[in-house]
């Protein structure tokens, strides 16, 4: 994948097209939740993660804990783009026998470090990974991607408070602050408010950015990685970003995409 910021917008659009194609193909999947993450995922893999797609178990690789596991279609599309497995395989999403399960499973497709999907659990695993890698004097960093609705789970705050008390410079979290969850807006159901301030109050370094402004995201990720303590990038995103009829619409948390919707989405995402 190109690491040039200017070209990454095109990469992101291409990845989004693959997400909607895969979900359309199998008739199930979390489109909205996947589309909101694409810009920061593309940036992470293009410009910040030290990984080797041809050597997925490289000992010193950066680890990724994709805690908002239902965003798997987005993760898989980015992993394919970077070269962990063939792009064609994306169309096997969620099928019996596929390596691409509904939520990521370690030991299936290359590039997946941790099994996730039960929300609120990933950050604790990331803290353990970070502490362990630090104990081994490894240069590897640990990146944990979380949803905003996910932050309603109490366990997150156990991990957040605990991590702040330990000097873990190798731990970075990214929150997909898209404002929606399965049943509606997060603030109407179980408010989490100003996410960056909450993490900051718990002792993390926090960076709040427009989750679709590649330059701003890039700078925030760089600062978070450089921070000598645990750091979070709160990416203010739009659920369903890139497809106008999905953007900000609750039902697109999890819904099949029909033929007409696919055509319309692909056209908006720049497919000729």
């Amino acid at each position: 994948m190109t690491s040039d910021l200017a070209s990454l917008a095109a990469t992101a659009a291409r990845v989004r097209r693959r997400v909607v194609r895969a979900i359309h193909e199998v008739g199930t999947g979390h489109a909205g939740s996947s589309l909101s993450t694409i810009d920061f995922l593309v940036l992470l893999y293009a410009r910040h993660l030290r990984v080797r797609p041809s050597q997925p178990t490289w000992e010193e690789r950066d680890r990724v804990v994709f805690s908002k596991g239902h965003g798997a279609p987005g993760l898989y599309a980015v992993l394919a783009e970077v070269g962990y497995f063939p792009v064609d395989e994306l169309l096997t999403l969620r099928r019996l026998g596929s390596r691409l399960h509904g939520h990521p499973v370690a030991g299936t497709a290359p590039g997946i470090d941790v099994s996730t999907g039960s929300l609120g659990q990933g950050l604790s695993i990331a803290v353990g990974l970070a502490a362990g890698l630090q104990l081994r004097r490894s240069p590897a960093r640990v990146f944990c991607v979380l949803g905003d609705g996910e932050l309603q789970e109490g366990q997150n705050w156990e991990a957040i408070a605990y991590a702040a008390g330990r000097r873990l410079p190798n731990l970075v979290a990214v929150v997909d602050r898209n404002g929606l969850q399965n049943d509606g807006p997060t603030e109407a159901i179980h408010p989490i408010e100003d996410v960056a301030r909450r993490w900051e109050a718990f002792g993390w370094a926090a960076f709040d950015v427009d989750g679709h402004d590649l330059a701003a995201l890039d700078a925030a990720l760089e600062a978070a990685i450089a921070a000598p303590r645990p750091a979070v990038v709160v990416a203010r995103t739009v659920k369903g970003k890139g497809v106008s009829f999905m953007e900000g619409v609750v039902k697109w948390h999890h819904h099949p995409i029909d033929d007409a919707e696919l055509r319309a989405a692909l056209e908006e995402l720049g497919e000729g």
């Binding site: 039960s118 659990q121 604790s124 695993i125 803290v127």
Partner: protein, 319 residues
């Protein structure tokens, strides 16, 4: 092994854990230990003082502890995550997802199993943990009977490639296992021969079961005692063989009658045998009191075990 050979007092299996961790800590630099603000009671404290870099006291946050243990195992360590048996339930999802589904070689150690939390009352007496852990695929469940067996179980757990749940006690128990016979995961131990009734027991009540066998011998009843330190995977062959020989069974555990040893034994003998099985177990939550009194109240002692054996024999006679 006769009942008269047993010491009255004994040693606590949680102490064996603390001691074994120090041994392991020296032998294996990849062993790390986690605790959730109970290290003075669970005995992980000594490891923490000796190897502070490898000790993680997460505070009162069991769900986080289990997740963190999984993460540490992914970084190449062998983690022992420790709490009381009663607090296992609150981390069940994390154990199920991160440890079992994720196939992480995390060793979960629970002290204060059964009624031993005693005066703390019913909310602290962990009597459902074996059922929960037994239900999970890929989880090996160990319930050692005494100090020596517990020490060996800790070492065996460290060497075992998958997830392990190791349930220990708070109170001292007499030595019941012979040093000569090593502990092997998956193998039950026949501590006493007999062919009238099979006393199948796990954990802290092995000593009481041996005393019950002595009592029954005085009544002309030859009770066998089979200690089952590995609840999952159960040594089903040993259980079936003994049940077939005796014709009736009593299962004994400091746990609810549902989901623990009783169900495991029933499952092993079902379909093969007509074999009445009595349960010496809890049927409801506990209450506050001293450990010995509580066990007497709920029939989890020598008298209760002997009574269950007589009931089993009566049922066999009627069948």
């Amino acid at each position: 092994m006769s009942g008269s050979a047993h010491a009255a007092a004994g040693r606590a299996t949680r102490d064996a854990y603390g001691d074994a961790l120090l041994e392991l800590g020296e032998l294996r630099p990849d062993v790390v230990v986690l605790d959730a603000d109970l290290s003075r009671s669970t005995k992980t404290e000594a490891f923490g003082r000796r190897f502070p870099e490898r000790f993680f006291n997460v505070g009162i946050a069991e769900q986080h502890m289990i997740g963190m243990a999984a993460g540490l195992s992914m970084a190449g360590f062998v983690p022992f995550a420790t709490t009381y048996a009663i607090f296992i339930a609150r981390a069940l999802d994390q154990i199920r997802q991160a440890v079992c589904f994720g196939r992480c070689p995390v060793k979960i150690v629970a002290t204060h199993g059964g009624l031993a939390a005693s005066h703390d009352g019913g909310t602290h007496q962990g009597i459902e943990d074996l059922a929960l852990m037994r239900a999970l695929p890929h989880m090996t469940v160990l319930v050692p009977a005494d100090y020596a067996e517990a020490r060996q179980a800790v070492l065996a757990a460290a060497a075992h490639p998958g997830p392990v749940y190791l349930r220990l006690q708070k109170e001292p128990v007499p030595d019941v296992t012979a040093a000569a016979e090593p502990f092997v995961i998956g193998r039950a131990r026949l501590l006493r021969e007999g062919d009238d009734v099979a006393l199948c027991v796990t954990g802290s009540l092995v000593h009481e079961s041996l005393r019950a066998a002595d009592l029954l011998a005085g009544e002309g009843i030859r009770a066998a005692v089979l200690a089952v330190p590995t609840l999952a995977p159960l040594d089903a062959a040993a259980v079936r063989e003994l049940a077939a020989r005796c014709g009736c069974v009593v299962t004994i555990e400091e746990h609810l009658r549902t989901g623990g040893l009783h169900d495991a034994v029933l499952h092993a003998i079902a379909g093969d045998l007509r074999c009445p099985a009595e349960a010496v177990a809890m049927s409801d939550f506990g209450t506050t009191g001293e450990w010995r009194e509580l066990r007497e109240r709920f029939g989890l002692d020598t008298a209760g075990i002997a009574a269950a054996a007589r009931r089993a024999l009566a049922r066999r006679a009627r069948a």
